[in-house]
Symmetry: C2
Subunit: 320 residues, 2 copies
């Protein structure tokens, strides 16, 4: 598998991304809840990327990667390995441009995920669940098609795209003291760092992570990347490790990483569904869970909270 060169995306890359993807993504609304403000002691502004195209913020990065390709590159298509939102969002963006897209996922992935990718006109190629099988199958796909690999997060085009989310947020809400987003591989957090460190350096950036997949937390404390071996958490978008590019942003610009237990995540998820009337993923509930757990950090502050996605299995809700 080809490594991306370590090019650090800049503010100009984010601004170019914003212009490039504007016809293809929603400017998502910011919602508030008096009750959640009272409960947290903070003023919370929820940036609803669950209402984004294809149901996740990853439509931003994927669209930036796909629409930034030359016609020649685009004709060969794009490819990735993902059984989560990145696969769906890359399929969305490729479908939108009308170019081929292949997503490698383990045959054990949920049927709904495969259907979502195919629903946008992309091809699903199945591998065994192991990393070695996935990499071998993916290498075959690239060799056969010449498709451009778009990594789920460790890719400057993807990070620049994700950075457009907080660029919108600071236009929609003034005088934020902090922004908090869930962290898995670190794509959203890196995009947030890219944008805020340039446009609003006074805003503190927090990352929120499940205790049961706290590799970013431990990396942050240790000062180098620590990768977990197959962590188990209900926040299934957050199991992947940091990589060099996202580590660059996280280690340089994040104020702190906070963690929450599985029970706290489910409670926060249900609270958001109940009070804010939105459908969102367990991963998206981790920030609120950590805010409620750390009232001293956020009390009296104006806090932007990124709701990262809404693709959840309605037949298997964690409180049923």
């Amino acid at each position: 598998m080809k490594d991306q060169p370590m090019y650090i995306p800049t503010l100009d890359d984010m601004l170019a991304a914003r212009q490039r993807i504007e016809p293809h993504v929603h400017r998502t609304p910011v919602l508030t809840s008096r009750m959640l403000n009272e409960l947290s002691g903070a003023e919370l502004f929820f940036k609803c990327e669950n209402l984004q195209k294809a149901g996740a913020f990853k439509a931003r990065g994927a669209s930036n990667a796909v629409f930034g390709l030359s016609d020649e590159q685009a004709a060969k298509g794009v490819a990735t390995h993902s059984s989560g939102n990145h696969g769906t969002c890359l399929a969305y963006a490729a479908g939108r441009r009308g170019v081929p897209c292949t997503v490698v996922m383990p045959h054990t992935a949920p049927q709904a995920k495969k259907d979502a990718v195919r629903g946008y006109g992309a091809r699903v190629v199945e591998s065994e669940p192991s990393t070695s099988s996935r990499e071998a199958v993916f290498a075959e796909v690239v060799a056969e098609t010449g498709a451009e690999f778009v990594h789920p997060y460790n890719d400057p085009r993807v990070i620049a795209g994700q950075g457009t989310c907080s660029a919108e947020l600071i236009e929609q809400v003034t005088d934020l003291d902090a922004v908090i987003a869930p962290i898995g591989g670190g794509g959203m957090v890196s995009g947030t760092c890219l944008t805020l460190s340039n446009l609003a350096p006074g805003i503190k950036i927090y990352a929120a992570e499940p205790e049961q997949a706290d590799d970013a937390y431990r990396s942050f404390k240790a000062g180098h990347i620590i990768a977990d071996d197959a962590p188990q958490t209900i926040a299934d978008g957050l199991k992947v490790p940091l990589k060099d590019l996202t580590w660059h942003f996280v280690s340089n610009h994040v104020t702190d990483i906070l963690t929450a237990s599985e029970e706290e995540i489910v409670d926060a998820m249900k609270l958001i569904w109940k009070r804010m009337k939105i459908v969102m993923e367990p991963s998206s509930a981790v920030p609120l869970a950590t805010i409620l757990k750390n009232p001293d950090v956020f009390a009296g502050k104006r806090v932007g909270v990124i709701i990262t996605g809404g693709n959840v299995d309605l037949d298997k809700l964690p409180w049923n």
Copy 2:
């Protein structure tokens, strides 16, 4: 129980309501879904009153009633009988003005409904489930407190308040061909008629009703009010009958009333949750259910769809 006089609210009443309630309600967002457009063959614009204060459009009418009271009236408080969103929303509005509110509901009402009313600082007084007990208990409450009765829908102040929803909608979306809303007692539909017949008379108004509680449908076809005896439907906000004031608007301004089965309602509800990532009540799914059932009526049209509320029991979802 005191009847409201048959005063028909006017455009001026709606405009006054809009100014009066503006600090107390959300200008709710309008969401769209490419997939639901493809499925329906229409262009659908969902006006999300599930994201309204207290989780339902009824915050509009209740706020208009409460904030329109003189100080003298307000000091005695407001009262209603409702085990649904009107009770919660009247409690919300009264709490916002800081005046007493009493809601009479059967002791069999869900604990969550009682808690919601009390959560806004109002008093719950329990009756037996029968209409006679409810009326007797309500009469006692009014005699004791001198509170102003705010009917859930057959009240000009309430209808004028509900009319602010479509006033916003036609500012948010241009060139609508039709608007469709669920119909129970007819408060939202009447407010929609009031506003659109004055401000946008070219827009057709449809009402959507469960087959199993189709009294408004049968009234519309018969040309006079027919009240069902205790209809049973999952769309529990839509069990109540039309009254004189709402019948006035429905009979004069509605183009048609369409119905859907319980299964069609649940399917439409799940579809909206899944594709639009919003939490809404079964009642709010009836319009989409009827749109999907009547493609010939809506094909190629730009249709506003009122999502009326989001107060649903997350522990008892109809597909689990």
